[in-house]
């Protein structure tokens, strides 16, 4: 921040022949850095980011580290309670009904879970928002038709879709992704359309039109960046929804199928052991909750941090005690 301080004091003295190359580098970096610093300022957001990174890393490298621990059964060692150091670190979180390491299964499941939830959210986000933005920008019949299509998808029983896809194709994570993405498109579509319809009447969009910019260019330059934070926030809510939907499908027997394993499936399968081995469903459940809370906290933070109008909120010094020191004692 020092740099702008110095410049500010003598604005008129700046000569007309500037040296752009010199300035740009460090300043750009400064922008990135400040987002990071902003993050560090918010303890909750920092912790959330760390958790998400941890989960991401786990999903990425965890399964390889676990080897065959997640599938190695030992029927004589089934349903062993967690936190018993005697069983060794593999069984720190206990063992499941087939004597597999809960820890290893959680790690392996994280990959399936993320590889269902992330693509499902991403695909729906991508299609839904592009479509919605397009429909909202052009208004007219494109908007009407799109909204009706959204209505159709919304009132369509997603379970039927799930069964159809599972029947016609075979049950696989990719198909679950397909179903979840398809059924969640309208959510983004509607939001994106509403925002974009509002934005397309804004003056800065008009301004872009006066330069002769093409609709798609305007959408990319002006509409999407404004709509994106809202959609991203929505996407984190949806991330949570999709994980839950996946576990509900597992519950109904039409979701991820063993021997694949996801957190949702683990909760679903563990529910019958609730009274005999609580850890089978609690640990994956906690994993879902923690992941969604972290995603939500970070999204809430990011939304503010990327909104120039709100960004200041994050950086405020805490309200200090107001001690008003009168400059001069008033005479009684």
């Amino acid at each position: 921040m020092k740099s702008s301080l110095n410049e500010g004091s003598a604005p008129e003295q700046v000569p007309a022949d500037f040296q752009p190359a010199e300035k740009d580098g460090p300043e750009k970096k400064d922008g990135k850095l400040s987002l990071f610093r902003l993050l560090l300022k918010d303890r909750f957001a920092t912790v959330s980011a760390l958790i998400l990174i941890l989960i991401g890393l786990t999903a990425l490298v965890g399964p390889a580290l676990m080897g065959d621990l997640a599938t190695k059964q030992n029927l004589l060692f089934a349903n062993k309670a967690p936190f018993n150091p005697a069983y060794g670190w593999e069984y720190f979180l206990g063992s499941d009904s087939l004597g597999r390491s809960m820890l290893a299964r959680l790690v392996v499941a994280s990959r399936t879970t993320l590889s269902v939830a992330l693509p499902a959210v991403a695909v729906a986000l991508l299609i839904g928002s592009l479509w919605g933005v397009w429909a909202g920008y052009h208004r007219g019949w494109r908007e009407n038709v799109s909204m009706r299509i959204a209505d159709v998808i919304m009132s369509f029983p997603s379970l039927l879709l799930a069964v159809v896809v599972l029947y016609v194709f075979s049950p696989s994570a990719a198909n679950i992704v397909l179903i979840l993405a398809l059924t969640r498109i309208p959510i983004y579509l509607r939001t994106a359309r509403a925002e974009s319809a509002e934005l397309q009447s804004r003056t800065f969009v008009d301004a872009a039109r006066t330069f002769g910019a093409k609709p798609n260019a305007i959408i990319v330059r002006h509409v999407i960046p404004v709509v994106l934070p809202t959609l991203l926030t929505l996407a984190t809510l949806e991330f949570c929804y999709v994980m839950l939907a996946e576990s509900s499908l597992s519950f109904l027997g039409i979701g991820i199928q063993p021997p694949d394993v996801s957190w949702g499936l683990m909760v679903s399968q563990g529910r019958q052991y609730l009274q005999t081995a609580w850890w089978l469903s609690i640990f994956p459940g906690v994993a879902i909750v923690v992941a969604t809370i972290a995603a939500n906290v970070l999204a809430a933070w990011l939304r503010i941090a990327t909104d120039p109008a709100q960004r200041w909120r994050l950086a405020l010094p805490r309200k200090r005690l107001i001690v008003r020191i009168p400059a001069k004692e008033a005479q009684p």
Partner: protein, 340 residues
Amino acid sequence: MPELLTIEGLTKTFHVAKSASGNTRLKALDGISLTVGRGETLGLVGESGCGKSTLARTLMMLETPDEGTVSFEGTNPFGLRGKELLTWRRRVQMVFQDPFASLNARMNAGDIIAEPWATHRSLYPTSRERDARVRELLHMVGLRPSDARKSPQEFSGGQRQRIGIARALALNPDVIILDEPVSALDLSVQAQVLNLLNELQQELGVSYIFISHDLTVVRHVADRVAVMYLGRIIETGATEEVFDHPRHPYTAALMSASPKLDVSGTTRDRIVLKGELPSPLDPPSGCRFRTRCWKAQDICAEVAPEPQVLAAPDGTRHLAECHFPLDSIKGLTGAIASAQ
């Protein structure tokens, strides 16, 4: 002056939700005819909602007119396509009324100013050139080069408007439509911007259509003035003529309502119009001003006045749409007296 832009009978109707009388057609522009010469500044004044911005937007092809023709150096921009349209777009630019809404809050000032070049790539092909030009433009409109990195929220209204002007200038246009470019600005900045516009005109020979409700400013910048009321031009003429010898009662009222920087302490007489601007959805019959006019007679309700060419003392062309134009000899004071 050779004419650069000619507008003939421009009409624009909006379809809106029903009004009290069940009308859904809002005639925002009703047969507007104007000319703008090369290097000339045309001032456009009028009450809020009379259609000034609509005219500007129509000229910028943001709205399609229902009727009427526009001719820019003999070509009709509404017929252009592709490359030619782009060229035309480059040559005619606009500064928007609302400095808060016309800048995308998520871009920084530098990107906003450089935005037109994304479409007109050939203008400043390298990023180095663009950067330099951005700094130059910022400097031209009185901002700091470091401001290029700031987002619009960090600017005051006046500074935002300057960014808007810099953006319009980015394409080196021949005509700039300025929709209230200084009404959001501070005095000191206003002076800078007016000086800037003046210099640009002198250097580049740009024409301006200068929309403003600040008559002091219009008087200072405009060569000719057009006064609008409810979608029609009711008076045009050379600036001094219109200001000092208004012929239409509305113009007179407008002139007298404008506060003057006069510290003599004596309160001036002025015409304070009764009532509000009638709804453009249900404009009065005949002469549109008759509901607020102190000179109105029966005929005003029946017959819409035609533009009349009136004798101007200095010989310039002076047009007014009134059945009972004011006396030109007595000027504004005479008009005020007649209203009281």
